[in-house]
């Protein structure tokens, strides 16, 4: 038990940051982190010994986030799995209404896959290998997706939404 706590607790601030970046709601973000920690504890024995704890935790958290989105979507109109790529983070929060130059508005323009990758690599300092593991994609895809995500964000921050709307993903 002490081992679990001493390994998991240092990761909590980063999990809370990633959860908030995805959800922009403090309560909902902490709910997601709590679900993540509960899942991690219950599956503690299943984690690969040589596996990377950080990547494992972010994988669990992102999957729980996507399941939540998927459930909300299926309760409404039926959409295919590809709709998950077009999840828009809530952009109407007071924080992001601060202005077009708020980087979070730019983050909302990205697809969920791009957004998660940018957050895991650029903010949470996961290595490219860890990010590939967390997102379940090959390393080469990590690099090209990162490149596209940063170009799209840069475009939006420089030219505003019109440019991005004209772009085909």
């Amino acid at each position: 038990m002490d081992e679990i706590a001493s390994l998991l607790e240092p990761q909590i601030p980063a999990l809370r940051r990633y959860a908030w970046a995805l959800l922009r709601d403090h309560e909902a973000a902490d709910d997601l982190v709590q679900d993540t920690l509960e899942r991690a504890i219950s599956r503690w024995s299943q984690r690969r010994r040589e596996g990377d704890l950080r990547a494992w935790l972010f994988t669990i958290q992102r999957n729980l986030f996507l399941n939540g989105v998927r459930q909300r979507k299926t309760r409404g109109t039926q959409v295919g799995e590809e709709a998950l790529n077009d999840i828009q983070a809530p952009g109407a929060s007071p924080e992001s209404q601060a202005g077009l130059h708020d980087i979070l508005v730019g983050l909302d323009v990205l697809s969920e896959e791009q957004r998660s990758l940018l957050l895991l690599v650029g903010v949470e300092d996961l290595s490219y290998e860890q990010a590939a593991q967390a997102l379940g994609i090959p390393l080469g895809t990590v690099m090209s997706r990162l490149s596209r995500a940063r170009a799209r964000l840069r475009d939006f921050m420089e030219h505003g939404p019109s440019t991005v709307l004209r772009r085909v993903k």
Partner: protein, 269 residues
């Protein structure tokens, strides 16, 4: 530079992230010096990377809420039956026996009609309390869930036995508080829960008289369902405006949590 790998987008990304080995870093720098437009884009991407980090930094610096402490999560999992399949199986068997005996008229379990009457009366009082207080909008509880520790301590003292407010968050019900009630001259505790749809659920607890343990009893009045049982000398009634099938798993959860909370051997991990 002859013979060296050409610069790729992976190099540029690793440059933005500051993750290149020194020699490769130098090579990218030389390349960017020769491509000013690209260099400008890379510079901008580094600035945006820093801006995003700075924008989100506050969240990782906040004090961690106590509900996310591992010790607290472990403690609530200990109370929860989810991770103890043996206990779940045992409780299910016990419930099945109770249901069978209930169907057979309670033969062998209720040794006296008088006792059964007392239990029926407690269930009736609990359902009445449920009906009165769940419809209350302004003052549904005396002590709100924000003061849960105080609430539990206070009600335990008045009822005369250690009580626990079960955690029903996994079932979608959040504790909103509780109150003290009179029941046949005795003190009774009422914990109230509410789900996102606004459905309220109450758990009623009072001293169970001379009996130590009984099986689950189901009772319904109109749209209100109730399960009652006695365990460790305490009489419990869980009541909600849901059907039997919806209420049963909640009653089982409460039973298992209370049993774990009262049994020191089981509350150890």
């Amino acid at each position: 530079m002859t013979g060296e790998r050409p610069i790729g987008e992976d190099d540029l990304q690793a440059f933005v992230d500051g993750r290149l080995a020194p020699s490769r870093h130098e090579a990218v720098k030389i390349y960017l010096d020769a491509h000013p437009a690209l260099a400008e884009q890379v510079k901008r991407e580094i600035e945006l990377r820093e801006a995003l980090r700075a924008r989100l930094a506050f969240k990782a610096q906040e004090p961690v809420p106590s509900r996310l402490r591992i010790a607290n999560i472990l403690a609530s999992q200990r109370r929860s039956p989810r991770f103890r399949p043996a206990a779940v199986a045992a409780a299910m068997t016990w419930l099945a026996i109770g249901a069978m005996l209930g169907a057979a008229g309670g033969i062998g379990w209720t040794s006296s009609v008088q006792r059964q009457d007392a239990e029926t009366r407690v269930a009736g009082n609990a359902i009445a309390a449920h009906r009165i207080y769940v419809s209350e909008r302004l003052h549904p509880v005396e002590v709100p869930a924000e003061q849960e520790a105080h609430l539990v301590q206070w009600l335990s003292r008045r009822v005369g036995k250690p009580l626990t407010a079960p955690n029903l968050n996994p079932q979608g019900y959040r504790l909103i508080g509780g109150r003290l009630l009179p029941d046949d001259g005795e003190a009774a505790a009422l914990f109230m829960y509410e789900n996102l749809g606004g459905t309220r659920l109450t758990l009623y607890a009072r001293s169970g008289g001379s009996r130590e343990q009984t099986s689950f009893r189901f009772e319904s009045q109109g749209e209100v369902s109730a399960f009652s049982w006695i365990d460790k000398g305490l009489s419990y009634v869980v009541t909600a405006r849901v059907d039997r099938a919806q209420l049963l798993p909640i009653a089982e959860t409460i039973y298992k949590q209370l049993e774990a909370a009262n049994d020191p051997a089981k509350s150890r991990l």
